[in-house]
Symmetry: C2
Subunit: 115 residues, 2 copies
DNA sequence: TTATTATATAAGTCAAAGCTTATACTTTGG
DNA sequence: CCAAAGTATAAGCTTTGACTTATATAATAA
């Protein structure tokens, strides 16, 4: 874990690019507290499965996500060992938990079995 | 000044989009401490004047910059009254001051009169 | 006033980003 | 083994973004 020292500007830019998309920012806010699988995100965001997978790939390539396979499902959660974790958590902490978009997403969350 | 309360997700996304470009992130890091005019940035970044102006326009439209006219020059500085100021300062604080790119830019800084 | 300097804006180009549909891969259940 | 479900990847389309050149605007200097 290298969360205490400061980062190069290009490291910071890479993180910002990864989360400057509204879908991906919301994804990171959601996985901050719980893991989600692709099919859950598909339901919550109302996007096609490839679109969701492509966003998750970008976040994973930026080192922000951990992947956990369980049966047919792949669960994604925040990689808190990322060199970006401190800054990312800082950014996410500025988002109001009562944000309408965020609450709308959470309202659509379903347990994996029921989908 | 509304820097204490939390922001909507779309507000945060707007800020992140504004500073997720390497040139604009550096600009904000620079104007955090000093005002700069367009011609100084042109020298420092080695970009054309319209390219610099267009980046500055984006930052201004996001509410991150204050503009101060002095003679033929327009000086830009950080708008610390922006609703984004707290988060922006947080982000900038994660950039190492000894970052090579940043130091290279500062090395090219010249007083306005001498350009 | 006229020329010069600083800056903004407009229009066009090219590459990147986000989406779509189609298809491949992987795991589970019969 | 075979079908179905979950996920990834490939290819194509469309929009956006960062740049370029050309031009307009504004302030100063001669």
């Amino acid at each position: 874990m290298e969360t205490l020292s400061k980062r190069s500007a290009s490291d910071v830019t890479a993180l910002l690019k990864a989360v400057s998309d509204p879908t991906r920012l919301m994804m990171m806010k959601l996985v901050e507290t719980n893991p989600y699988c692709v099919c859950q995100f598909v339901e919550m965001f109302g996007m096609t499965q490839p679109a969701i997978s492509q966003h998750l790939r970008k976040l994973k390539q930026a080192g922000l996500l951990k992947e956990n396979r369980s049966g047919q499902w792949r669960f994604y959660s925040m990689n808190k060992e990322s060199i970006h974790a401190t800054l990312l958590l800082d950014i996410l902490s500025h988002i109001d938990d009562s944000d309408a978009q965020l609450q709308a997403l959470r309202a659509k969350e379903k347990p994996v079995d029921c989908i």
